[in-house]
Symmetry: C2
Subunit: 185 residues, 2 copies
């Protein structure tokens, strides 16, 4: 799958839930998928033109007063979406700045490393909080909504990963404290 079709995939997928403008699309991706996906305007608008050109989405008229362009998925778009979803997952090469620094932590010093890990712990806590909120939202939607179980699955992925991060942070903080004490002697 070419990389740009990753954006197509996300846009088409988001439009399965509701017709949206480019702006709203971005907001929806940010708020609902923010933990594991991102798109910028510079990607979204060209994608909308492309997909519209190709007949995979179309303008959703009749919204009344609005001058803005609300897009809706076409039947062709829906089958293209499934096609894209079936393609092998292309993952971006990993680039974890925290672990890179820690791997060479001796050059940075144990105290600075400790600071980085403490920050990471705060981030994980924050993530856990926002996931708790997302879980409440997802659990309170209409139980007949076919999206609901899948939303919970992705929320749970975030929870597992954030909890693991917190445990690792705690373990690492004590390990670094031990290292700092032994360096001090």
């Amino acid at each position: 799958m070419s990389r740009s079709s990753q954006t197509d995939l996300a846009v088409l997928a988001a439009l399965t839930v509701a017709p949206l403008t480019g702006y709203a699309l971005r907001a929806a991706i940010k708020s609902h998928l923010g933990a594991f996906w991102s798109e910028s305007f510079g990607q979204i608008y060209p994608a909308l033109s492309r997909l519209s050109e190709a007949g995979l989405i179309e303008l959703d008229e009749g919204q009344g007063r609005r001058a803005s362009s609300v897009y809706r998925l076409t039947p062709t778009g829906r089958s293209r979406l499934v096609e894209l979803m079936r393609e092998p997952i292309t993952s971006t090469p990993p680039r974890n700045g925290l672990l890179l620094r820690l791997f060479f932590g001796d050059a940075l010093g144990a105290i600075a490393c400790r600071g980085l890990v403490a920050e990471a712990r705060v981030d994980a806590e924050r993530m856990l909080d926002s996931l708790a909120e997302a879980r409440r939202d997802a659990e309170s939607v209409d139980p007949g909504n076919p999206h609901a179980p899948y939303w919970l699955i992705t929320i749970s992925a975030g929870e597992h990963s954030a909890r693991a991060a917190m445990h690792w942070c705690d373990e690492t903080l004590t390990a670094l404290d031990r290292l700092i004490r032994s360096e001090a002697t």
Copy 2:
């Protein structure tokens, strides 16, 4: 921090462990940092020229018979490295193809989702195996090696994350099985 200095950071850091050629540098990054970092030749060689130009690294002569260029960190390079490490961590925007597909799993179908998660479980298992090997290696190096505790820290990060992934996969597989059964009726 400009994005390119991320590569500089990785290259400088890797050279703290031992002098290396561009080729060996890439191999080392792949094998030791592969789980959380990556660099391609197209990045490494220009970086080596740049860093060499700037006096942060230099050719390590006297290796005997070799025609290849082995680079070594200069004192300036070492302080630049610490400077780079102290800069705020810039993280690439998330792009998790698996979670994107699962979030819109209703469009893909529960059975196909199950396949994706089963694959993810296998990946996590493999990761855990290779981390076990890395741990054995790291635990068997000279205990006086100042790098050792930091290597163990990053290995532990991988282990926590891989175990969390496995638990999530198991939980998700049973959830999807339930969903598949209920769809079948």
